[in-house]
């Protein structure tokens, strides 16, 4: 077994186990912590795919940012100490059927398609290439993204403002 295969299986096991804990654990706060773990291991998957820049974006924005926002939302809407934090699940059979059917459909489709086994060698430095393409070919979507983030920030502030 090569080092790449070991890395992939280890990361995949951690990723899927923590994702399962996110949807199965009773404690909502633990759920968010497991989400942080699964987002971090996704950054590891990005590293395994030679996308260092994306791995660090994932860590900075997702694993730290989203987790912090989610913890703050829980703090505001639930009581961290005491029994209020527990959450229950419903429609478990429906959820199992729907997600299992979706997984079976996607896996059945993947089995029928020829997929590349070997990854082609990278001609350029990925981070440098991302920066160059982002600021030349994709500069308009990039600027629109900045506007979107500003609007999202202002909207979130407006929604969560204190009562007058």
């Amino acid at each position: 077994m090569t080092l790449e295969a070991i890395t992939f299986w280890a990361l995949g096991a951690v990723l899927l186990a923590s994702a399962l804990m996110v949807v199965l654990t009773k404690n909502l706060f633990h759920s968010v912590l497991y989400l942080a773990l699964s987002l971090t291991s996704t950054a590891g998957v990005f590293l395994a795919l030679d996308a260092e820049f994306l791995a660090f974006i994932q860590l900075l924005l997702y694993a730290v940012g989203v987790t912090t926002i989610a913890v703050i939302a829980i703090l505001v809407t639930e009581r961290l100490v005491g029994a209020r934090i527990t959450q229950t699940s419903r429609h478990i059979v429906t959820g199992l059927i729907v997600s299992g059917a979706l997984l079976a459909a996607v896996l059945g489709f993947l089995r029928g398609v020829p997929l590349p086994i070997e990854r082609p060698p990278l001609a350029v430095d990925v981070t440098r290439a991302i920066g160059q393409v982002l600021l030349t070919e994709f500069v308009l979507p990039f600027e629109l993204l900045a506007v979107l983030l500003l609007v999202g920030l202002l909207g979130a502030l407006y929604f969560a403002r204190p009562d007058e």
Binding site: V22, L49, A51, Q58, A70, I74, R90, E118, R119, V133
Partner: protein
């Protein structure tokens, strides 16, 4: 590892996220499930980009990550607002629009 292994991993992650979205009662729990699903899509994008040696897929991933973070911030702000008005974030109790 081939492309199929990464796509299988992402499909499993997506199915787990979908299960969470369907079964969770708490709005924040539903949002966490949506996070998992979007994460699976990101893995797919990066895997296809790497196996085609094309950085455009990675640039799409930059966009999706940023949009997802904005979406989560807004979604949780709406959750806080709903809690302030209805004093609950359980999705089953938020049935104002039900006829």
């Amino acid at each position: 590892m081939g492309l199929g292994a990464y796509l299988t991993l992402a499909a499993a992650l997506f199915a787990i996220g979908l299960f969470g979205v369907i079964t969770r009662r708490n709005t924040i729990g539903i949002l966490l499930g949506i996070e998992l699903m979007l994460n699976a899509v990101n893995i797919n994008l990066v895997a296809f980009a790497r196996f085609n040696a094309d950085v455009v897929g990675m640039i799409f991933t930059v966009f999706t990550i940023c949009i997802t973070v904005a979406e989560v911030a807004l979604g949780l702000a709406i959750t806080i607002l709903i809690f302030r008005i209805r004093r609950t974030v359980v999705a089953d109790h938020l049935d104002l629009l039900k006829g």
